[in-house]
Subunit: 457 residues, 2 copies
Amino acid sequence: MSDQRAKAIQIAHEQRQTFLQELKEFAAIPSISTAPESKPDINRAAAWTARKLESIGMRNVRVIPTAGHPVVYGEHLQAGDGAPTMLIYGHYDVQPAEPLELWKSGAFEPTVRGDELFARGASDMKGQVMATIAAVDAALQAGHLPINVKFLIEGEEEIGSPSLEKFILENKELLASDFALNPDTGMLAPDFPTITYALRGLAYFEVRVYGPDHDLHSGLYGGIVHNPAQVLCELIAGMHDEQNRITLPGFYDRVRPLDTDERAALARLPFGEDYFLKQTGAPALRGEAGYTVIERLGARPTLEVNGLLSGYTGEGSKTVLPAWAMAKISCRLVPDQDPEEVHQQLLNYLEAHAPETVRWEVLVHAGSPASISNRESSWVKAFARAQEAVWGKPPAFRREGGSVPVVILFQNLLGIESVNTGFGLPDDRAHSPNEKVHLPTLYRGVDALVHFLYNLA
Amino acid sequence: MSDQRAKAIQIAHEQRQTFLQELKEFAAIPSISTAPESKPDINRAAAWTARKLESIGMRNVRVIPTAGHPVVYGEHLQAGDGAPTMLIYGHYDVQPAEPLELWKSGAFEPTVRGDELFARGASDMKGQVMATIAAVDAALQAGHLPINVKFLIEGEEEIGSPSLEKFILENKELLASDFALNPDTGMLAPDFPTITYALRGLAYFEVRVYGPDHDLHSGLYGGIVHNPAQVLCELIAGMHDEQNRITLPGFYDRVRPLDTDERAALARLPFGEDYFLKQTGAPALRGEAGYTVIERLGARPTLEVNGLLSGYTGEGSKTVLPAWAMAKISCRLVPDQDPEEVHQQLLNYLEAHAPETVRWEVLVHAGSPASISNRESSWVKAFARAQEAVWGKPPAFRREGGSVPVVILFQNLLGIESVNTGFGLPDDRAHSPNEKVHLPTLYRGVDALVHFLYNLA
């Protein structure tokens, strides 16, 4: 190990108490991006992030306004000729904390219990942002930052990053880099360093079916009109076949098949049905025929009902034949599906299958394509070596089921690949009450990030 | 026309403004039987009804508690030897008013526009209750009530009359009568006086389907568990076949077939598809193969979805894979189906078709069998003559799709037939926003009821 690398690791270790103290300070700011009343806290969190970047020696630190919440930027470009530039992505906003009564300690009163820090954002992703800053800080203190870095810390990730595309387009030169680091995708388990090389996209719809022009008395009219709630159920029931394949016409046409190597690699991940039965609490698992659980989660598209509403839904009974029915339906997409095409496929399905007894419409709520990253890039290999140095084993490579639109934005707008990783765990309860981060894992993450900086030099 | 009869008709005409004023007062009480928070209004409506009965000279007026909402009773038994006793049935409770935003004037702010009074309960059935009281009042004011009458006005009709059977059993002597008048079944059109000789029963259920033990992130878990909203849709879709027949095992076993005479009589009613397209505003009609619209409505059983709820139903999108889904499902029953058997048929269907990927349960909200009445009784004939005196034509005899459990309770527990009629119209929007009653028709109804009293003497 080089002197500088060893010194940086040592510095990171010595600063763990300060790191924890500052993370608690950061996590105490209720920067909930979806809540208009949290705007002052959003601004406070952005300012806090900017001050922190300045304090470790970042240059050109700015809080850049957008149509929504501001982006925090900072850079350090003194690595010298031939050194690569890394764009570090993060977000300082968090999910709402409700239901508050389920928290054992306040969502914004960061509290350590045992090895874990409990707070909204501790894992997703203030802890991860602080880990990247701590690693850069340690290298700078050790004498010299071996690569160039740029930080892009946004404030709208938890509401779908609505201002990010425009921000990137307007700041392409400022953001120009060789690759990106995205520590927002987490690990499979504390002893499983993980690199995520594929993320699913999302196409989110609302399907509305209209029958009679007003709610009818189910006795006076039941039996002569096609109940729109029943029609909606029939349409939804037809969207999967007996193999649990999605029946929208052409839905699989662009789905990139898994190759033998990748299937073999995914098969080595020790997360089978038992693990996911425990995680979900479902009586039994079920998914597309011909694929393993891990393949279904990351490499195959889905169509899920996210919500259903029709007629009377209160206590007891009301004998109404409802005038209309609604379903929120979303598809997780894989490469190379296109959200706009999937929208058209849904329309085609409804054209073909909706009976003449109803009218229908489809609203589009969101659409972003999937991303897949090069598993063999030098950046990925450098990060894998960093993980192996800390955990003593190579990382697991996985596809993840969730959607992180920034990865594809960086690919499409900046032409760069991302290393998707992070040190959050599946039981961190991101988005749920009692979110926490496992501190020993997060500290190992800082060490891995320090190694990564030197591996890239 | 006898002097007394003519005088009573004249009094009824003179009192129309008072009648309307009092109906508005009655309809302004939000006596929603299904809403626990409406209990004070239920009690207020019961007290209002009792005061009204006393004010016209009813004796022994009582508000009689039950396990649920109270029954209002009053009687006038001075008609003398040989006069028959008529039990007048009504209910003072109403359906919920939601969705409130669709009302043009407040659901409980009765408003006259043109010939119509708009309010929840105006037609179903506070207007009908007031019409019977007005007719008895007019006869009493004219000098002498020609028959004995007893009023039974309950407060639980809109929730399936759960306390009524016990109440009748415990008050058989009090209620003993020669026949019953039930003005809760309405007319086919303003120029079609109607007597309903068959009513459908009701079996109302709530089906709940449970999947994962908590709401899941649809990205992180979508594709590996069976979405309970999808399962519910699949189960509901399977409850009808391509002929629109209901697939619950054994569902049609006890259904009494229509005989040729009755089919011929029903075929003479001038209400075909166009009429019901207009009434419902549906793009097209649809029902069980092999039956006319009129037959489907009154003589064939149904299974309707009355409500659907699962997951996220607010504005925009939330990528949740819901932990559970719910449907309110009710069957309209015909003779000789048994609600308890239908409950068992639903359980058998779910046992056979629900996948092992979910758990499920069924709640029972209401159950009452269908009824069929003697079309040739002297009471029915007396009422038909009363209708002919007012409308100048004999009534249409029909089967009705709605459920009035009290008819079969009176048959079974008191051994009496009911004359089922009323002055509500198909476009009154009973159970829907902007419920109204057509005042000229309701006033004709009062006249017909006055004639009926004298026809029976």
